[in-house]
């Protein structure tokens, strides 16, 4: 079983549209499992029309809660909190749970034993069925921490099912950026597909995400999306990739059909058969060749 993760650095370059198309194309050839690792803005379900089979609670971190009766407003908690999470008051103090990182420093320091630590539900995760195979996805509640932990959980579940059922491929739709959820999404991947757009921002962020995949030892390929937007930036991406020994496996043109497919809730390769779809088919063939070579 191979694991392919779709990443980008910069947001909005087309990761999810590409992931959905690859899920469609790959599943026509072999059993495929999908995981949406962008748990704070999960969009894959919008184009895969999943039927939810299971729903599970995700317990995230803990937060400090102050017992107002026991609090003596001595200020010790505010003194030790490094996350500005303590809200001082005249009679008693309180904790801003959106700022609390659950370190329990205040819990240990409170002389009045007025603070307790409470586990919080931080989200939910789901196992679903789609016409292209099983999908594991999640919803991290607004503003929660521990997205990396939830990504790891979703991927673990997807991987176990893929191994149990003898699936050949796990496609992981990654989050933007280069930080904790991206690192969790890339862990254990055989290959990363970096979706980049030919803009100054796209090029800048490609260098950062490639640095990240190299740092964690995941081989990478590049797909240039909206490739006819700017010839000069395309050349720059190609030169950069050549200098780093990274293959460019596709040039998808800028076309409104990608948005139309999204509005229709379909992968673009299901929605149309134009230039975008045929380039994505070629791209998939190249990726497939490299995954199982």
């Amino acid at each position: 079983m191979k694991q392919l993760v779709i990443l980008s650095g910069k947001g909005g370059t087309g990761k999810t549209s590409v992931a959905a198309a690859l899920a469609h194309l790959a599943s026509q050839e072999a059993a495929t499992v999908m995981a949406d690792a962008d748990v704070d803005a999960a969009n894959l379900e919008l184009v895969l029309a999943p039927t939810r089979l299971e729903e599970h609670v995700f317990m995230g971190g803990q937060v400090a809660i102050v017992d107002a009766q026991a609090c003596t407003a001595c200020d010790r908690c505010a003194e030790v909190c490094r996350f500005d999470a303590v809200i001082p008051g005249d009679e008693s103090y309180a904790v801003d749970t959106s700022a609390c990182e659950g370190c329990a420093s205040c819990f240990y320091q409170c002389p009045a034993d007025a603070i307790r630590m409470e586990e919080q539900q931080a989200g939910q995760w789901y196992r679903s069925r789609t016409r292209f195979g099983p999908l594991f996805h999640a919803h991290l509640f607004a503003g929660q921490e521990n997205s990396g932990k939830l990504v790891t959980l979703v991927k673990q579940q997807a991987r176990l099912l893929a191994l149990d059922t003898g699936a050949r491929l796990l496609i992981v739709d990654g989050p933007p950026g280069i930080g904790c959820p991206v690192i969790s999404a890339s862990a254990g991947a055989d290959l990363a597909l970096l979706v980049v757009e030919p803009t100054v921002s796209g090029v800048h962020d490609l260098e950062r995400i490639l640095g990240t995949t190299e740092h964690f030892g995941v081989p990478a390929l590049v797909l240039i999306n909206k490739a006819d937007l700017n010839a000069r930036q395309v050349q720059e991406i190609e030169a950069f990739c050549a200098s780093r020994g990274v293959r460019v496996v596709g040039h998808v043109p800028f076309d409104i059909v990608v948005t139309e497919a999204m509005v229709h809730g379909q992968p673009v390769t299901v929605h149309t058969n134009g230039a975008v779809s045929s380039e994505l088919r070629l791209t998939w063939q190249r990726i497939r060749g490299l995954l199982w070579e």
Partner: protein, 293 residues
């Protein structure tokens, strides 16, 4: 006035709106009493504002977290530090203390709880904060997370602490937020007077806008207004949502290939399409109204 520019979904035009608003307002500044513009790039995983504003960096400061360091002359291997650490960043096994720096949140609880005073804290660098001036003229600051580092929140927190002046109410402080809805976004929005959501009228845009609005309004209690970018693509979902939620749409930027091409080259819209200069000044006026200023 502290304005956070956010979106949920990536690539909807946060940086475009933040940069052009900053340029339009700063160039209109005719005397000392007008608001000085301060641009903070809080998307520390993929910071792109500088590609458009070309700041001259005058100060660079390495930032990170204070992580524990054990003085083995004093350590009794009692294991208390490992017991109080909520992140499993310390393990005491036989006569060894292992510190997993990448798991540490820098809360300092281990040092406070060490009865022997055997734990000192030292800075572990995970990023850099750069401050300077950009044409406009405006003050510019950005945080840059080092490649391979997981935690962006400490860099964002320190960027805001250093670069937001005490008289922020007299300035226009623009915070360019990262995509998503989890802790880095919360850290960016916290303390803002208004959150301006830049969205695209597509199903992905709407899905992530809802989540981002939930973070800003429900979690943080901040007022929210909307800019619709690429107006005309996609469907009616975003407009219907804004209407039903009572969210004011302060500006609409049409789908225009010239804007995309200028962006690709790193050229601000207000310079390529001068008619937008006044439109962004108008946006500023509406922002002030929406924030009750």
């Amino acid at each position: 006035m502290i304005l956070a520019v956010a979106s949920g979904k990536g690539g909807t035009g946060k940086t475009t709106v933040a940069v052009n608003l900053a340029l339009a307002v700063s160039s209109q500044r005719t005397n000392q009493s007008d608001a000085e513009v301060i641009f903070l790039d809080c998307d520390v995983e993929a910071p792109n504002g500088a590609l458009f504003l070309h700041p001259t960096i005058e100060r660079r400061q390495e930032v990170g977290l204070l992580i524990p360091e054990v003085d083995f002359a004093k350590c009794t291997y009692c294991g208390r530090c490992a017991e109080v650490c909520q992140y499993s960043a310390i393990a005491v096994v036989q006569r060894k203390v292992l510190i997993f720096a990448e798991l540490c949140h820098g809360c300092g609880s281990c040092a406070l709880n060490c009865a022997e005073g055997a734990i000192r804290e030292k800075l572990r660098v995970s990023g850099v904060i750069e401050q300077g001036l950009a044409r406009g003229p405006m003050r510019f600051a950005q945080g840059v997370l080092n490649v391979g580092e997981a935690m962006s929140v400490p860099v964002i927190r320190q960027l805001k602490q250093r670069a937001i002046p005490h008289d922020a109410h007299r300035c226009l402080v623009i915070l360019d937020a990262p995509p998503g809805t989890s802790c880095p976004v919360v850290e960016t929005m916290r303390g803002a007077d208004l959150v301006l959501m830049v969205t695209e009228p597509t199903p992905f845009g709407l899905h992530d806008l809802r989540l981002a609005v939930e973070v800003a309004r429900e979690e943080l209690g901040l007022p929210v207004a909307v800019v619709i970018n690429q107006d005309g693509v996609g469907d009616e979902g975003v407009d219907r949502y804004c209407q039903s939620e009572g969210l004011r749409v302060l500006m609409r930027i049409p789908m225009d290939r010239r804007i995309a091409e200028a962006y690709a080259e790193g050229r601000p819209m207000v310079e390529v399409l001068p008619e937008y200069r006044q439109r962004f000044v108008d946006l500023y006026r509406r922002i002030m109204e929406a924030a009750g200023r």
